[in-house]
């Protein structure tokens, strides 16, 4: 019985990691790649660690596995947010079929602060969103 549970959990975990890597290879844009990889890989590694926690009879291993899962869930979104933010500042182009870029013109270029809607009314944004012209720029 416990073998079946372990097999199901590890299968779902390995398949999520596989989908994350297919996504990072196939997605057309940096931001889409970022949004695919972080969530799927955290889920996959978390499920594999739950497998280890069930498999070993020790309490210490279970504690360690839960600690790694907790750490991953805490840190993965922070790292993803920071790298996405710095990618937006350094001018990584968006996918060529992007419909809307709601951040365009909302960032203060000097202080790197996000401005709200009211301040935007005083200085209307005259910047074009940084959308790629062709697939080759983001591929």
């Amino acid at each position: 019985m416990i073998d079946i549970i372990l097999a199901i959990l590890s299968s779902i975990g390995a398949l999520s990691i596989l989908f994350a890597s297919i996504g990072i290879l196939r997605m057309p844009d940096f931001y889409l790649r970022l949004s695919v990889t972080v969530k799927a890989s955290t889920l996959g590694v978390g499920l594999l660690l739950i497998c280890a926690a069930i498999m070993f009879p020790d309490v210490s291993v279970t504690t360690k596995a839960i600690a790694i899962i907790f750490f991953l869930i805490i840190t993965a979104p922070i790292a993803a947010h920071m790298i996405g933010r710095s990618a937006y500042f350094t001018g990584t182009p968006l996918w060529k079929d992007t419909v809307i870029d709601e951040l365009a013109g909302m960032y203060n270029k000097e202080t790197h602060e996000l401005e709200s809607k009211e301040e935007e009314a005083e200085n209307p944004p005259n910047e074009e969103p940084n959308i790629a012209k062709s697939d080759e720029e983001t591929e």
């Binding site: 660690l49 991953l72 710095s86």
Partner: protein
Amino acid sequence: MITLETYFDYVILPILAISVMMVFIRLFKGPSVVDRVIALDLIITTGIGIITVYSIRSNQAVLLDVAIILALIAFLGTVAFAYYIEKQKDD
């Protein structure tokens, strides 16, 4: 009827190995630095998964300590890359 050990050996570990290979392609051809940074992050995260499966297979619970350290290094590396890439634009 296959056992859980052969299932881990012949299904789970090859899937994870194929994933790492596909991420390596993105690491080599990624058009910008940030693509390579997230590819490295995903490689290390997949490495944590491989270490976990290997520690189950070889019955060595000590290997999970390595997974903790790798998770820490992946986070710190990504944050440091993001910080300095953003600083580089200012100058």
